[in-house]
């Protein structure tokens, strides 16, 4: 009787720990954001193609042509964002300063993608880019015309955008590294643009 219960207890503890380990990636991730970062770092993943319009009205096919062969740091934002997007923008500004100060050879691009195509027209994006000093060559600010492509892009990057009920959005903020092969390779904290560039050799 006692032995059975003791064995049952050991079995329960073992199964319980194994289950908790399984649902936390070995006790490394309790939130879905942490789990996503781990998964991306361990297995870089291909991204769906999408057509973007940048601040100068130019069309670029993502990953296939315009940006291919160079690592790209990507952030998602909307121009009327009152909060976290400002942090991302200032991070990209610092990253941009760092990139243009580099000697030739380091070709890292910055890409800011709006997820609010209704309000963020090309004119709006041009204003925004001018305010931040985005040059349209190293740093592009863009929108996605096709809502289905935008949806697919957000899903592929793991960006969850929720309306905040006051005309704005709540979204998880991060800096994404797309490698030279066009794969999502790393997810950085929203304040880690310079660290990301340093890790790319800049």
């Amino acid at each position: 009787m006692k032995l059975r219960a003791a064995l049952a207890m050991i079995a329960v503890v073992a199964a319980g720990l194994a289950t908790l380990a399984a649902v936390t990636d070995g006790f490394r991730a309790a939130t879905s954001e942490a789990a996503w970062r781990l998964a991306v770092a361990e297995w870089p993943r291909p991204l769906p193609d999408a057509t973007l319009i940048d601040q100068s009205g130019r069309t670029l096919r993502l990953w296939l042509s315009a940006l291919r062969g160079r690592p790209v740091l990507v952030e998602f934002f909307y121009t009327s964002c009152p909060a976290i997007c400002g942090l991302l923008a200032s991070q990209f500004q610092a990253g941009f300063e760092r990139l243009i100060a580099q000697p030739e050879g380091l070709e890292v691009l910055l890409l800011s993608v709006s997820f609010d195509p209704e309000r963020d027209t090309v004119t709006e994006l041009a204003d925004y880019a001018a305010r931040l000093g985005a040059d349209g060559r190293i740093w592009r600010v863009a929108r996605v015309n096709d809502p289905i492509e935008l949806r697919g892009l957000l899903d592929a990057f793991g960006v969850v955008v929720l309306p905040d009920g006051a005309g704005g959005f709540v979204h998880n903020a991060a800096i994404y590294l797309v490698d030279a092969q066009g794969r999502l390779a790393r997810v950085y904290d929203p304040d880690a643009a310079e660290r990301a560039i340093a890790e790319l050799g800049g």
Binding site: M1, K2, R4, A5, A8, M9, V12, V13, A15, G16, L17, T19, L20, V23, T24, A29, A30, T31, S32, E33, A34, A35, V160, L162, D164, V170, N172
Partner: protein, 186 residues
């Protein structure tokens, strides 16, 4: 047993599930505890209230209690709440495992637990609710990607209130004693 089945039937109705899952408090502090309660009621009815089922494996109720604690711990992880919202499979897993692995073992083990172990469970429940409540109300980051920050803060405040209420209830119970009904029926 019948009330447990009825409660479960109400909880699985898609509009009810969607409504409760619409807020973090509803998901974590209403739906999941009620699913556990449904499992408890059914198990309590099925065992005649004596925890006789699996008794040979559940000496002192400790193995059963551990099953419930591990399963509850898993479903308290923010990523599990996100996963249940994102995937129908995880949602189904929640509706199966919470009653079966949290509620039922708790009901079957509670009558077997020595008073010290019951006190241990209560003390931990209260302190965890308080600590988690504080964490949720001050955390600057969203822990669930599918809920807003103000919902997280509301959950934190609610947890603090629950902890306080449990503490007061428990203190009352300790000082004044059990209600007559419970005393007459040990």
């Amino acid at each position: 047993m019948i009330p447990g089945l009825l409660l479960y039937a109400v909880l699985v109705m898609p509009p009810v599930a969607a409504w409760l899952e619409g807020s973090m408090v509803g998901h974590m502090l209403v739906q999941i505890p009620l699913l556990a309660l449904a499992g408890s009621l059914v198990a309590h009815g099925a065992s005649g209230g004596r925890g006789a089922v699996f008794a040979g494996f559940n000496t002192g109720g400790v193995p059963g209690l551990l099953v419930a604690l591990f399963a509850a711990a898993a479903w308290m992880l923010p990523r599990m709440l996100d996963a249940a919202l994102r995937s129908a499979l995880m949602e189904a897993a929640k509706f199966i495992t919470v009653p079966l692995l949290v509620g039922a073992p708790l009901a079957l083990s509670w009558p077997l637990l020595p008073p010290v172990a019951r006190g241990f469970v209560w003390a931990n429940l209260i302190s965890h609710a308080a600590v988690l409540g504080w964490l949720y109300s001050v955390a600057p980051n969203r822990l669930c990607t599918r809920y807003l920050l103000d919902q997280q803060a509301t959950l934190g405040t609610t947890l603090l209130i629950v902890a306080m209420a449990l503490l007061l209830g428990w203190g009352w119970f300790a000082i004044v004693g059990a209600p007559l009904k419970l005393r007459a029926n040990p």
